[in-house]
């Protein structure tokens, strides 16, 4: 379990385009990640106060996000502003969705599942990065670490090189091989489910397609049944 004050990744910045929303789960908590038309990212509880519909099914209009069920519309503070069935109603201030702190750094959207009163960990430093992809796999973080310790990274010209894995924080891992440096923002979805948001350093532009294929193969390795001999 990560501390509530920790910044946790929910998506690659590039995956949440302006005017769109998506769902993300962090340690069982359902979140909606959305970006308003001005480009600002928001992370909220994924639940409409009306009848509990997931807000990630909803749609963004300008700087509001509207619920799919009955169109209740919320401003960037999570405050309900408009109820289509009662267009003249001055919407009560109590109709509000829980919002979380959001920062974008290193090509990743980070959130902190804590109230403002709690002291925050510093934002992870990730440098400038090129997105490779988000990879979702059914395995634990510990298992992913064990597999990544043995991975061979593509370093160009069809060659591979063993990666050196470093756990910077529970949510930031790095893998280095030769001149290549990968950052992995780790989203703990559930005990046996993780999201790896993988980015490469700026010098690695030509390697991105190879790294995307490497990630695809990595998922197979991550989900391969663990044999008893390995466990022992």
């Amino acid at each position: 379990m990560s501390s509530e004050a920790a910044w946790v990744p929910v998506a690659l910045s590039a995956s949440i385009e302006p005017g769109t929303s998506a769902g993300a789960v962090v340690e069982g908590a359902e979140l909606v990640v959305w970006r308003d038309a001005k480009g600002v990212a928001h992370v909220w509880e994924d639940r409409c106060p009306h009848r509990g519909m997931r807000m990630s099914f909803g749609f963004v209009r300008g700087d509001h996000i509207a619920c799919l069920y009955h169109g209740w519309s919320y401003d960037t503070a999570g405050q309900c502003r408009h109820i289509p069935a009662h267009p003249d109603l001055d919407v009560p201030k109590t109709i509000k969705i829980a919002t979380y702190a959001v920062e974008e750094a290193g090509g990743v959207i980070w959130t902190r599942l804590a109230t403002a009163a709690q002291a925050a960990d510093p934002l992870p430093t990730m440098g400038t990065n090129l997105p490779v992809r988000s990879l979702y796999a059914d395995c634990s973080a510990a298992h992913a670490l064990a597999i990544l310790k043995q991975t061979l990274l593509p370093v160009g010209k069809g060659e591979t090189c063993p990666g050196r894995l470093q756990v910077v924080t529970p949510h930031v891992w790095t893998l280095e091989a030769g001149a290549l440096s990968l950052s992995i923002a780790v989203q703990l979805i559930g005990p046996q489910k993780i999201g790896l948001h993988i980015l490469a350093d700026e010098g690695a532009a030509d390697l991105i397609p190879h790294l995307a294929r490497w990630a695809q193969a990595l998922r197979l390795a991550l989900e391969e049944p663990v044999t008893v001999a390995e466990v022992a």
Binding site: E17, A22, Y136
Partner: protein, 210 residues
């Protein structure tokens, strides 16, 4: 101009595939509503005379009677899309279009079946079907990750083809059978681009944003 008739059920996603194609091509057509659920009208003798498989959709185009969703899409594109945009014939593109169009009829058949079980309450092992559908959607997402890196937004060409059209409903409707869109960022991106194509229309289960 020949007369086109579609034997249709509004909640059937394969019928939706054909409705989408007709809409993109702007083709006038008649709709014959078939009581698929709960009536199983498509399995009755009158409909089996048109399609011995007893399934929908069925398309009549002049004297031609066709069944099989992908065959109908290919026919409409060849016969009514003069520019050849939806089914390009350049060999390198054509073969990719075929690969992904067949994928929608083979690997994705579990997704179509999963939705039938979930929405229409038909018998079937939903968990196994969902598992297989998720694997198929992952293959699609992996492909679109690479396509995006290469600078393309569509499955087989630099414009949408019947491959995109035949794959899309299984993803757009995946919440009907309990698979969320969270894990498929590249497919979300593709779905958004598909939704804004001129002529796009929704069906129940695919929200109409208004």
């Amino acid at each position: 101009m020949s007369e086109i008739t579609l034997y249709n059920h509004d909640l059937d996603e394969n019928c939706y595939r054909v409705r989408l194609m007709l809409s993109f091509l702007g083709l006038a057509h008649e709709i014959v509503a078939i009581d698929m659920v709960p009536g199983h009208e498509e399995k009755g003798p009158a409909m089996r005379a048109l399609n011995p498989l007893g399934s929908l959709p069925i398309l009549k185009d002049g004297d031609l009677v066709l069944y099989g969703t992908q065959a109908i899409l290919a026919h409409l594109a060849r016969a009514h899309d003069a520019a050849g945009v939806w089914l390009p014939l350049e060999p390198a593109i054509f073969s990719r279009v075929m690969q992904w169009t067949f994928f929608s009829a083979t690997a994705l058949s579990c997704a179509i079946e999963a939705r039938r079980v979930a929405v229409f309450g038909l018998g079937g092992d939903l968990e196994t079907l969902k598992h297989e559908a998720r694997q198929a959607l992952r293959i699609m997402d992996d492909h679109m990750v690479l396509r995006h890196i290469e600078g393309f937004e569509w499955f087989a060409a630099d414009t949408p083809t019947i491959a995109d059209l035949s794959l899309l409903p299984s993803f757009a409707l995946s919440r009907d059978y309990g698979i969320d869109h969270d894990e498929f960022p590249a497919l979300r991106r593709w779905l958004r681009r598909f939704r804004i194509l001129p002529g796009f229309r929704t069906m129940p289960g695919i929200p109409d944003y208004h």
